[in-house]
């Protein structure tokens, strides 16, 4: 095969196949350049830059939606660097929908003024591209690249209010922890890539299987396997430290409250949903890639250990998040701890999936897909309820210039739209029955029950999850207590909220929370999609 | 320096005659010795030149006292004076860094001579990424300056160091981009190859500067940026004596002070040499008939050197005198081109007033970077357009792809080499006797121990 033939093949592969499937990311790239050009020719005096960003995001969303509709089989893009499957498309769609909503929120709340708009939206779009790489990564390099592309713009966004002491402190803490963990993670990647001789995640699965299967190579297997296994375990621990940092799981959660408190509410909302969703998608892919598809005796054990380990971390994270949230006085900090707790709940789904996927329980694959379905459903509902909460915090901040819970006194009566929206969001976050959060939690708990048959420890995790749900009610209610029960202090000016556009936005975001709870059609539709996506991934795997 | 020593490299030559281990060490030592001594001389000459030129420009005579009418010993006399001076370290300085800084600057500037070829094959390290490595090492000089500025414990020095840091970090970008403009034209980072490709057909047409309009402009941009990169006037903000006393070297005296200037003049020569390799034909004179003849001779010499004994599979080491002379001539041409550019830098220094720091930064960020980007883009697109045009028209016969020309010349050299071989084979039949006397070297001795797994399957 001569050079020209290979080059032609490469061009065919890139232009003919990959670029088309990569179109939504490209749309975002083009939008970034567009934002720069708009400022270069001073068009931003007449045309507010958020229109450019919004248009680009909607275009990207449309492209992703087309891909979703087309469906199609799993294929590998760019000579195997990215994997293109239903799971990836779903998460891209998810991220882009969220991006559109966040841009709309920033337009209404006006946190980047028109002068800083191009900078802010460039960072926002850049981070989103990174997340989209994360969700479809099939190579350890892309994994690292995606995480860096997500993190580095996030650091700047957290410090976006550059004149504020809090903001700069938050950004500094975030960047220092983030950069450190990225380095640790890279070291893990280097060990894993060196051990397995490849950075390709599908090859990693194969070679892990070789490594774990006892009949691989005759002589002194135990010694060889042992040392090699230890290296791989060390490497995957270091890598998962990086992912855990993005997910704010417990030993690596410390950045989260500080960063959220210092950052504008819009940015905090973006980080709490988008970067978690991308990191979960990555975690699922990485966990599945790690152990390989064929079930040998040894690999089954590894799955089990991995699942139980994740379960332990999940239980600790949820408990810690809820306990720490209890004593908070700042609403953003409270929501940050609630984010940590929710990451714990969602991690329970991943743990259940890992325990189930290669177990000897009947219909193991189906049940594993169920756990994944729970995760996807939970993330979708979480998008709306968490974004709703942060949006309301941003709107209230614009009026009363405070984010302390005690300053929310009596606001529920003065701004009924925001108040009711907050009630819906918080109740859904707790997991109260008629809201979407209830069904989401139910699905995860159900898969935990299933997983319990494979390993009874998962029932312990389930119990801890249940207890946490009850406990979390207390601190969410404290916010509502402040908004409705405590009277507005004498002499404080009456707050006026216009329905348009802030109220309308709140309605738009909280409506899905309601719909996913009240009307069975929507959860069915959503859960159909989720289960399709989940089954696709598990069966392919 | 290969052809200087009747072997593919000095290391091989010594490895033959001494031992492999010590041969390499000796070769490294000799290379370093030659480089440092030859190029410590260059700054001396340029410092004298600077004084002379500035004198003339200011309507003075310049140095006349030491060394006859032209004062040519002035540089040496300066050196002697500086060595005798007391080596002061201010009380407020961080003495370790203060002492270290001049060496860093010097090592970076002199280190680049490793990679600078002086004629086809006369280069200490013939790296495939020569240009990249050279620019990388050159960029380390700034570290010495910054550390000097910071460790002096004086505010003037600090200001000088900060300015230098800001200026150098900014100017490295257009420097690298404009250096890439000829690279995209010839498609190689190897400095020897780049220069060899500029063999002219008629007159000056091979020089990359005249290859297309973008390289033409790129030369001037490169030269501006390189002048700034050596912190020469009008960009010498780091040592602006009218504002900062002496900038980063305010607190230095004696030999350490002179190290900075050795480094500066060495860097001037390096960037000028690079300019002449990248744009001005390197060691090619520009006259087609001379260049082509010399190139053929050099290729022939390389072939002689690379000849392999068919029986033993070892390198024969033939020495080919015409090639040696051609290289020597090339070196003279190259050094004179580079010196001319150094002269221009000196000339500019004594003609133009110094810019303000904000003007320096603005020139770079607002003008030079966009210009260099446009040039880079243009130089990338140009061949596509020209090839398209040249295929259909007979107007521009000299747009022959460079590679073809080189191949043609190499073919001529190969032919003459083969002819000579045949002739030799006819003349002396007992070939083996002759060969035995020649030193033979094992293949690729520098390749380190075999990689892991090589004993596995084979």
């Amino acid at each position: 095969m001569n050079f020209d033939a290979i080059l032609e093949k490469l061009i065919n592969d890139t232009v003919g196949q990959s670029l088309g499937h990569f179109s939504s990311e490209l749309a975002l790239c083009v939008t970034i350049v567009g934002l720069l050009l708009v400022r270069l020719v001073s068009l931003d005096r007449w045309l507010p830059t958020y229109w450019v960003a919004l248009l680009g995001a909607i275009a990207a969303f449309g492209l992703a939606a087309c891909q979703m509709k087309q469906g199609g089989a799993t294929q590998f893009l760019f000579t195997g660097l990215l994997v293109y499957d239903q799971f990836g498309i779903f998460f891209r769609l998810f991220l882009l929908l969220f991006l559109v909503l966040v841009i709309a929120l920033t337009v209404i709340s006006g946190i980047p003024d028109n002068e800083d708009g191009p900078d802010f939206y460039t960072l926002l779009l850049g981070a989103t591209i990174g997340m989209m790489l994360m969700v479809s990564a099939n190579n350890l390099l892309i994994l690292f690249l995606g995480i860096e592309m997500t993190s580095v713009p996030s650091y700047v966004m957290v410090g976006f209010l550059k004149g504020r002491k809090l903001s700069s402190e938050a950004a500094l803490k975030y960047v220092i922890y983030g950069a450190g963990i990225a380095g640790v993670m890279l070291y893990g990647i280097s060990l894993m890539a060196g051990m397995l001789g490849t950075t390709d995640m599908s090859l990693i699965a194969e070679r892990m299987h070789l490594l774990l299967s006892p009949e691989a190579d005759g002589a002194d297997l135990s010694v060889r396997s042992n040392a090699m296994l230890r290296t791989v375990v060390l490497a995957s621990l270091l890598i998962s430290a990086g992912v855990a940092f993005k997910l704010s799981l417990v030993p690596f959660h410390f950045w989260c409250p500080d960063a959220f408190e210092g950052a504008p509410a819009e940015v905090a909302g973006f980080l709490s949903v988008a970067s978690k969703a991308a990191a979960f998608a990555l975690l699922v892919r990485f966990c599945l890639a790690l152990v390989g598809k064929d079930s040998g005796a040894l690999s089954e054990h590894v799955y089990l250990y991995l699942g139980v380990g994740l379960g332990v971390v999940a239980a600790i994270t949820a408990t810690f998040g809820n306990l720490a949230a209890y004593s908070q006085t700042n609403i953003k900090r409270l929501l940050a701890y609630s984010t940590i707790a929710h990451a714990g709940y969602m991690l329970m789904a991943v743990a259940a999936m890992m325990v189930l996927v290669n177990s000897d329980v009947a219909d193991a694959k189906l049940k594993a897909a169920g756990a994944l379905e729970g995760l996807i459903y939970y993330l979708t509902v979480y998008l709306f309820m968490n974004l709703g909460a942060f949006a309301i915090v941003a709107f209230i901040r614009n009026q009363i210039l405070s984010e302390e819970i005690k300053d929310y006194a009596g606001l529920g009566w003065q701004a009924p739209c925001l108040g009711i929206g907050m009630v819906f969001c918080l109740f859904s976050l707790v997991g109260m029955p008629p809201f979407g959060g209830f069904f989401a939690k139910l699905m995860i708990f159900k898969s935990l029950v299933d997983a319990g048959y494979a390993n009874p420890f998962m029932w312990v995790v389930l119990a801890i999850g249940g207890l946490n749900t009850v406990f979390s009610l207390i601190y969410y209610l404290r916010v509502l207590n402040a908004m409705y029960i405590v009277p507005r202090p004498e002499g404080s000016p009456r707050v006026k909220f216009d329905f348009l556009p802030a109220g309308a936005y709140v309605v738009m975001v909280t409506l899905p929370v309601l719909l996913t709870g009240f009307f069975p059609y929507f959860p069915d539709r959503l859960s159909d999609t989720a289960s399709r996506v989940a089954n696709m991934l598990i069966s392919n795997f | 320096m290969s052809a200087l020593f009747a072997a593919n490299s000095l290391g091989e030559f010594l490895a033959n005659n001494v031992s492999e281990r010590w041969g390499l060490a000796l070769a490294a030592f000799i290379h370093a010795f030659i480089l440092i001594n030859v190029f410590a001389l260059a700054p001396l000459i340029f410092i004298w030149l600077e004084r002379k030129v500035s004198g003339r420009i200011q309507d003075r005579l310049g140095p006349t006292r030491v060394g006859g009418r032209f004062g040519w010993l002035q540089g040496l006399a300066d050196g002697g004076k500086l060595i005798q001076k007391e080596d002061l370290v201010p009380a407020a300085a961080d003495s370790m860094l203060f002492r270290m800084a001049p060496y860093i600057a010097c090592i970076a500037a002199f280190g680049t001579f490793m990679l600078l070829p002086f004629s086809g094959g006369w280069v200490a390290v013939a790296s495939d990424i020569g240009l990249f490595l050279l620019v990388a090492i050159l960029s380390l000089e700034v570290l010495g300056i910054i550390l000097a500025g910071y460790s002096s414990g004086s505010k003037w020095s600090l200001f000088g160091g900060m300015r230098e840091a800001a200026q150098m970090v900014s100017y490295e970008i257009p420097l690298a981009i404009t250096a890439l403009v000829p690279i995209v034209t010839v498609g190689s980072l190897n400095l020897v190859e780049i220069a060899e490709m500029q063999t002219s057909t008629v007159f000056l047409d091979g020089w990359l500067m005249f290859n297309n309009p973008f390289t033409f402009i790129a030369f001037f941009v490169y030269f501006t940026v390189a002048t700034a990169g050596c912190k020469r006037a009008p960009f010498d903000l780091a040592e602006a004596e009218s504002e900062l006393v002496g900038g980063f070297h305010t607190e230095y005296s004696g030999m350490r002070w002179s190290f900075f200037f050795m480094a500066e003049y060495a860097a001037m020569f390096v960037v000028s040499g690079l300019a002449s390799i990248l744009f001005l034909g390197g060691w090619n004179t520009g006259f087609g008939f001379i260049d082509q003849a010399l190139a053929v001779t050099r290729y022939r010499g390389a072939l002689e050197l690379a000849a392999i004994d068919p029986e033993t599979g070892l390198y024969l080491t033939n020495f080919y005198l015409p090639s040696f002379l051609a290289n020597l001539f090339g070196m003279v041409v190259f050094v004179s081109k580079a010196s001319l550019l150094v002269f221009v830098q000196i000339w500019i220094r004594w003609t133009l007033p110094r810019l303000r720091i904000d003007q320096v930064m603005m020139t770079c960020l607002k003008y030079l970077i966009p210009i260099s980007c446009v040039l880079f883009l243009g130089a990338t697109l140009w061949p596509i357009g020209v090839l398209h045009f040249a295929e259909r028209s007979t107007v521009m016969p000299f747009f022959e792809p460079i590679q073809n020309k080189i191949e043609r010349l190499k073919g001529v050299a190969q032919k003459s080499h083969d002819d000579a071989e045949e002739e030799r084979a006819e003349q002396d039949s007992p070939v083996s006797d002759v060969k035995d006397e020649r030193p033979a070297v094992e293949l690729a001795p520098a390749v380190a121990s075999a990689p892991l797994g090589s004993e596995g399957s084979k």
Binding site: Y155, R164, V175, G180, L186, S190, T199, T329 | -
Partner: protein, 102 residues
Amino acid sequence: MDIGLNHYLVVGAVLFVCGIICMATKRNAIGILMGVELVLNGANINFVAFSRYTALGLDGQIVSLFVIVLAAAEAAVALAIALNFYNNHLTIDVDRGDELAG
């Protein structure tokens, strides 16, 4: 003793651990960043060594190239944030940033 893969891996590990200690103990934000650079370099040595001695091949070198570029980008942002912190707090001591707690 022939120099092999393990020798380079040990150098990488030393760099990694030095970086970790540096990040853990320094209070100057820029000092912490230097620790990060050390950690990244430790990983990079691993990559290049694996590229030379194992089947990872050129991939290792390419990853290390990307890491160098990404590290430069990260350093630029981290430095901008540190300067911003300095402008607001008039110190670069990380421990002085204590307003976010709880």
